[in-house]
């Protein structure tokens, strides 16, 4: 076990995947000698060479579109889109091509493509550098969307994503890149399971509790754990669930928890309107109607463009906004 930052853990996971399978190719802007703008690919260009760690032209649609062709040729491309707000030029290739080629070919073609995207805010960046576009992609059948919240998950989930026969949007919470945790970088990762109850898409109860369930993924998990700590000081035990996957969502894990606690708060940085929380609230209402003691509440971004850095603390689902929602579900 080594105290490792999330960015370094993903780096180690990429390295393990590249060592395991020489068909794994990294491609993106500035991922070579620079190591990526967040240094997630640091050192890989040096060790694997420019054919395995490819500095591409500055063209997001081109990155994803050529990755599709490489996948057809038997490779496993791992694309890096430099920032969340720059993924939109590739939106067409991701949603009309990457997501659908297996379906269109009746399974004759597989698309083992991973698209890594640093996502979310909280780092004081300028516009287009802090967005959470996951709902736009979760609405597209054929894609898998995951987001690690911890260094350990960064290490294992990137390897599982690369092993997936389906395309995976791998969202990296950039505000947590330098959070350290103990990770066993020598551990063998189970790459066999792509189902929802174990493996890449399984949610995890990261703190048990009995009074209300709070769920999130990626950057909000840390906020939810902080909220649970504060709430515990006030006598409220929150059960914190790290979803880890936005598509599919591990509804069995959520409903099992809500059936015990009767209350649910969902938090994410993506805008609340038509966001992942809306889907979770609707499905949990269908599954747990008679167990719910309060309506499912959501804490997310507002219906505004991602704000300027000096306003993002108000926009993000921060500790106070989560605790306020917890107070409201407990008040019913």
């Amino acid at each position: 076990m080594t105290a490792t930052a999330l960015a370094r853990a993903i780096n180690a996971g990429l390295r393990a995947a590249m060592e395991r399978d020489d068909k794994v190719i990294l491609m993106g802007e500035d991922i070579g000698p620079l190591g990526g703008v967040f240094r997630v690919t640091d050192g890989l260009h040096k060790d694997f060479g420019p054919d395995r760690v490819v500095d591409t032209p500055l063209a997001e649609s081109g990155i994803v579109g050529t990755a599709i062709g490489l996948a057809m040729a038997g490779y496993r491309p791992v694309c890096e889109i430099q920032f969340d707000g720059f993924i939109f030029p590739a939106f067409d290739q991701i949603t009309t091509q990457l997501a659908k080629l297996t379906y269109r070919s009746l399974g004759d073609l597989q698309m083992p493509v991973v698209i890594r995207v640093p996502f979310g805010g909280g780092i004081g960046a300028i516009e287009h550098h802090s967005e959470s576009p996951e709902a736009l992609f979760a609405h597209t059948p054929g894609l898998r969307i995951v987001a690690p919240a911890t260094a350990a998950d960064g290490f294992t989930m990137i390897q599982q994503a690369i092993a997936s026969p389906d395309p995976v949007l791998f969202l990296e919470p950039k505000s947590r890149y330098w959070d350290k945790a103990d990770v066993d970088l020598q551990a063998e990762v189970d790459l066999s399971e792509t189902g929802v109850t174990t493996g890449l898409h399984a949610a995890r109860v990261v703190r048990p509790g009995s009074h209300a369930t709070v769920v999130g993924y990626g950057p909000t998990v840390k906020t939810l754990l902080a909220a649970a700590e504060v709430a515990a000081g006030e006598g409220t035990e929150l059960e914190v669930i790290d979803l880890r996957s936005v598509s599919p969502i591990d509804f069995d894990a959520i409903t099992a928890s809500v059936q015990r606690t009767g209350r649910l708060v969902v938090a994410h940085e993506a805008p609340t309107f038509f966001g992942p929380g809306a889907e979770i609230a609707a499905r949990v209402t269908e599954r747990c109607f008679y167990h719910l003691e309060a309506p499912v509440l959501r804490v997310g971004g507002y219906h505004t463009p991602y704000p300027t850095a000096k306003h993002e603390e108000s926009y993000l689902p921060n500790l106070d906004r989560v605790l306020d929602a917890v107070d409201r579900v407990l008040a019913y």
Binding site: G65, A73, Q97, S164, D166, T194, G195, S247
Partner: protein, 382 residues
């Protein structure tokens, strides 16, 4: 009115001129740069090209009729473009990989795809119909220009596999992307050219400039001949008479050999004409005049190769009659097959959304199965 096709001796270094080896009257012409690339076309090869053009036209005409009769939801005719498609496709080796647009019916034929398998997409029973890897012929791409990037990526894979520049004809491979004049305006095509040039990928961009992007003329897509796009990206380009199957064969063969040798990408603009509608949904009489169509009808690729075959005694009337008979049989088989195409059970729509199991798809499939079973009970009770 679109620009008249002025034929000049074309060279790869001057994409403003047009390569032609067989004129509209069926006369062969010498071409210093590309003539040698067609020198291997003997009587058998020319007859095979003629046959494939006639079969393609018969198939295409039949499919258009089937759409008019309500058997297909839509059809994208390739009438008039047989020369560009058959000529270029005959230059391909089996190991080369093709990324078509959605009207490359002639290329599909040459690649060995059963033409009947093109129908399910248009009849609405399947999104595909053939295994792309079985024929090295990708699925049709409906999103304009999207597949040019896939072609470049695939070519980058070929390159990584070491299957270029070995000098071994059994190993070296190339990739071709077919697209239209309208597609050249798409950003993806420009990005594909950037990636291809940057990676020196073994890919051939084959544009069929059929002069109309649905109802919009090529002049709206580009103020210069499309082949002039290539050099700006560092991709050698050539303009070819697209209704001349021999010239299309020659320039494509040259581009493929270049790609397979490791010399990098090429851009071919085949200047042709779509004699029919863009698809069966539009009405060309609204956007172009009859005189223009007549001008191009006189350049018909099948008529000109037929004239050549007869003038040079490379084929006789018995051969031509045999091809016509084969075409009639194909058309009849296509018609019969089309009517047998039916969609499977509704639960089939959940197949292949993902390769690995996905709980949401499984849940919704179960919901639909249960829902549909409810109707079965009702029918049983009657």
């Amino acid at each position: 009115m679109t620009e008249p096709l002025t034929v000049q001796p074309g060279t790869a270094s001057d994409p403003t001129t047009i390569v032609q080896l067989l004129d509209a009257e069926g006369h062969r012409h010498h071409h210093p740069e590309y003539g040698p690339f067609a020198a291997d076309l003997d009587a058998d090869a020319l007859r095979a090209m003629y046959r494939d053009m006639v079969l393609t036209r018969a198939f295409d005409t039949q499919a258009t009729s089937l759409q008019r009769q309500g058997e297909l939801g839509l059809w994208a005719p390739c009438l008039g473009q047989e020369g560009a498609q058959i000529g270029s496709a005959h230059a391909l080796a089996p190991r080369d990989f093709v990324f078509p647009s959605y009207r490359e019916h002639g290329v599909a034929l040459v690649r060995g795809v059963d033409l009947r398998d093109l129908l399910p997409l248009f009849r609405g029973t399947r999104h595909g119909g053939w295994d792309p890897r079985a024929h090295n012929f990708h699925l049709y791409s409906i999103v304009i220009g999207s597949h040019t990037l896939h072609a470049v990526g695939y070519a980058m894979g070929v390159q990584r596999d070491g299957d270029v520049g070995t000098g071994d004809p059994e190993r070296d491979r190339a990739v071709v992307a077919y697209f239209g004049d309208g597609a050249t305006s798409q950003g993806d095509v420009s990005e594909a050219l950037v990636f291809a040039a940057s990676a020196n990928a073994p890919v051939v961009f084959f544009v069929q400039n059929n002069h109309w992007a649905i109802s919009v003329p090529t002049t709206v897509q580009s103020r210069v001949p499309l082949a002039q796009r290539g050099p700006g990206f560092g991709v050698p380009s050539v303009r070819v008479d697209g209704n001349d199957p021999i010239a299309c064969y020659a320039v494509t063969r040259a581009a493929l050999e270049r790609a397979r040798s490791g010399a990098g990408p090429s851009f071919v603009e085949a200047v042709t004409y779509r004699m029919g509608a863009h698809t069966t949904s539009d009405d060309p009489t609204r956007y172009r005049d009859r005189a223009e169509e007549d001008l191009w009808r006189a350049k018909d690729p099948i008529a000109r190769l037929k004239a050549h075959l007869l003038a040079e005694s490379l084929a006789d009337e018995a051969f031509l009659a045999g091809v016509d008979e084969e075409a009639d049989e194909l058309a009849a088989a296509v018609r019969d097959h089309c009517r047998t195409l039916e969609a499977g059970p509704p639960e089939q729509l959940f197949d292949h959304v993902y390769t690995a199991p996905h709980p949401l798809v499984a849940e919704e499939r179960a919901q639909m199965t249960e829902f549909e079973a409810g109707f079965a009970d009702e029918e049983g009770a009657r």
